[in-house]
C-alpha cells in the first residue's frame, strides 16, 4: 500500500534534452500526477554557442556563413535577414533579377521547413509513413539547392548586393517538374494524414487566444492559426513581395489542428509564389557591386523577414568599423516557445508531444 501511494503522488519527468524526434536539444521538466501535467518548466541553453558575442570579434563578411547555422532547416531565410540589414545600412539595392531569385529561394526554403515539420509532427504522433512521403518532396528541393549553390543545406548563397551564383536552366526545369507534382503529392499526404485517429489526437488541444498572441509576441503560423493576420511579407513588405499575388491562410480556433492546416496551406501558397516568381524573372545582373571591405556607417539597423516560424529580425549596431558593435537576432521560436509553459499544464503526457510539435521550434536559433 505504501508503494501504491508513492506511484500516485506527483513526480518529475524529464523530456529531453535528447529527443527521439527532431526537436533538438531542448529540455522540458514536467511535474506530472498520473497522466496529467501539473506544471512545466523549459530549460534552454543546451545549444548556446555565444554567437552574438562572437559576432563582435568577426567582420561582417565572416559572420555570413554563421547565419546559416541557426536554422539549418531553412537557412537562406536567415541569410536574407542579415544581408538585408547590411544592404539597408550601405544603401545598396540588389538588381531585380537578384530579388526574384531571392524570393524563389526563400519560398523553397519555407516549403522545405514545413515539409520537415509535417513529417516530424506525424512521427511524434506515431504515423511513420507521412514522414517519408514529405521527405521525398524535401529531397527534391535540396537537390535544387545543390544544383545552384553547391550545397544541400546551409548554403551561404546570399551576399551583399545579390546572390553568389546565377540560377541555371537546369534549376528552372527542376522547379517546373517539382511544381507539377507537388499539388497532387500534398493532396495524397493530406488524405493519408487526416484520419479520425489523427483528428482526435490533435483537435481541441493547445488553444492559443488572440490575447496570447499579442501578449507573448507570437508570430508566424502559431499566430496565424489563432486568426491573427501577421505576416512580415504583407505588413512590412521587403524585396519584391508587393508584386506577387498570394494569400495568407488563417486559422479560426487556435488549436493544434489549425496550426497544422495553416502550415499545409502555406506550402501550397509558397508553391504559387515560386510559380509566379519564375514567370516574372527578368534578365539582367544577379548581383550589384559591393564594397570589398564592408564597413557599415554608424547607427542602428534592423531588418525583418518572414521566416518559416515567424518574424525574424536582425539588429546591427555599428560603430563605423568592420566589425559589428552589437549583433542581435530576434528569433521567432524564442517568443513562440515561451507560451509552452502556459499551454502544457492540465494536459496529458501524450498531448505534450502534440502541442510542442505544433509550435514548430528549432532549438539552435533559440539558443544562438
Amino acid at each position: 500500500m505504501e508503494e501504491m501511494k508513492d506511484i500516485r503522488q506527483d513526480f518529475y519527468v524529464n523530456m529531453g534534452p535528447q529527443h527521439p524526434s527532431t526537436h533538438g536539444v531542448l529540455r522540458i521538466v514536467l511535474r506530472v500526477e498520473g497522466e496529467r501535467v501539473i506544471s512545466s518548466e523549459t530549460v534552454l541553453g543546451y545549444a548556446h554557442r555565444g554567437v552574438e558575442k562572437m559576432a563582435e570579434s568577426k567582420t561582417y563578411v565572416q559572420m555570413m556563413p554563421v547565419m546559416d547555422r541557426f536554422d539549418y532547416v531553412s537557412s537562406m531565410l536567415y541569410e536574407w535577414a542579415y544581408v538585408g540589414a547590411m544592404e539597408r545600412a550601405l544603401g545598396i539595392t540588389p538588381p531585380e533579377r537578384a530579388e526574384f531569385i531571392r524570393v524563389i529561394m526563400g519560398e523553397l526554403n519555407r516549403m522545405a521547413s514545413h515539409f520537415l515539420w509535417v513529417g516530424a509532427f506525424l512521427l511524434d504522433l506515431g504515423a511513420f509513413t507521412p514522414f517519408l512521403w514529405v521527405f521525398d518532396a524535401r529531397e527534391r528541393i535540396l537537390d535544387m539547392f545543390e544544383e545552384v549553390t553547391g550545397q544541400r543545406m546551409t548554403n551561404n548563397y546570399f551576399k551583399i548586393g545579390g546572390v553568389h551564383y546565377d540560377i541555371t536552366p537546369e534549376f528552372l526545369k527542376m522547379v517546373d517538374d517539382f511544381l507539377k507534382m507537388i499539388y497532387e503529392r500534398m493532396q495524397d499526404v493530406e488524405v493519408l494524414i487526416e484520419s479520425i485517429i489523427f483528428l482526435e489526437r490533435v483537435k481541441d488541444l493547445g488553444f492559443i487566444t488572440k490575447e496570447d498572441v499579442f501578449n507573448y509576441g507570437l508570430t508566424g503560423p502559431v499566430a496565424r492559426g489563432s486568426g491573427v493576420l501577421v505576416d512580415t511579407r504583407k505588413t512590412e513588405p521587403y524585396s519584391v513581395y508587393e508584386k506577387i499575388n498570394f494569400e495568407i491562410p488563417l486559422g479560426t480556433k487556435g488549436d493544434c489542428y489549425d496550426r497544422y492546416r495553416v502550415r499545409m496551406q502555406e506550402i501550397l501558397q509558397s508553391a504559387k509564389i515560386v510559380e509566379q516568381a519564375v514567370g516574372m524573372l527578368p534578365e539582367g545582373p544577379y548581383a550589384e557591386k559591393a564594397p570589398k571591405v564592408v564597413k557599415l556607417p554608424e547607427g542602428e539597423y534592423y531588418f525583418a523577414v518572414e521566416s518559416a516560424r515567424g518574424l525574424l529580425g536582425v539588429y546591427l549596431l555599428s560603430d563605423g568599423s568592420t566589425k559589428p558593435y552589437r549583433f542581435k537576432l530576434r528569433v521567432p521560436s524564442f517568443a513562440n516557445l515561451s507560451i509552452i509553459d502556459k499551454l502544457l499544464p492540465g494536459n496529458k503526457i501524450s498531448d505534450v508531444v502534440a502541442i510542442l510539435g505544433s509550435v514548430d521550434i528549432v532549438v539552435p536559433e533559440i539558443d544562438r
Binding site: L44, G45, H48, G50, E52, K53, A85, R88, A89, G91, D212, V213, F214, N215, Y216, G217, T219, A223, V228, L229, V230, T235, E236, G299, E300, Y301, Y302, F303, A304, L311, G313, Y315, L317, Y325, R326, K328, R330, F334, A335, S338, I339, D367, R368
Partner: protein, 142 residues
Amino acid sequence: MGVVSILENLNLEKVDKEYSKSGFCHAFLLKDKSEIREVAKRFKEDGYYLETIVGYDKGEGVRLVYIFNRMDKVHRTGIYIDVAYFEEVDTVSDIFSSGIWCESEVYDLLGNTFKGHPSLKRLLTPEGLQGYPLLKSWKEED
C-alpha cells in the same frame, strides 16, 4: 497609431530615424527610466506588441532598447533607456508576457536585474557561469 501623441507627455527625447535606412519608424530616448512601465502600458493599450529587448554595453553603462511593433502594419518604435551596470530596472513582464524571457536573457548576458520579474535566472548560458558574457569587460576563462 498615435505613438508621438502617446508619448509626448512623457520625458522623452526623439531620435531621428528613417525607416528605409534603419528599419525603425520612430525611436525615443527615455530620460527617466522608471517610466518604462508607463510607456509599455501605453503601447499595450494601443495594440502594439513587444518584439524584443536588445541590450548592449555602451561603455559607461548599459543601454536597453525595447522594440515595439504592430501586427497590422509595421510601426517599429524603439524606446531606449540608459542604465548603469548591474542596476535594477522595473520589469514589463506583467504587461507583456514576452518580456519574461527577454528580460531573463538580458540578465543572463548583461547582468541587469529586473524588479518584479517572476523568475529571474540564467536562460541561455550554462549554470554556474560567473560573469555576464555580453559586457565588454568580460574575459573568457581558459
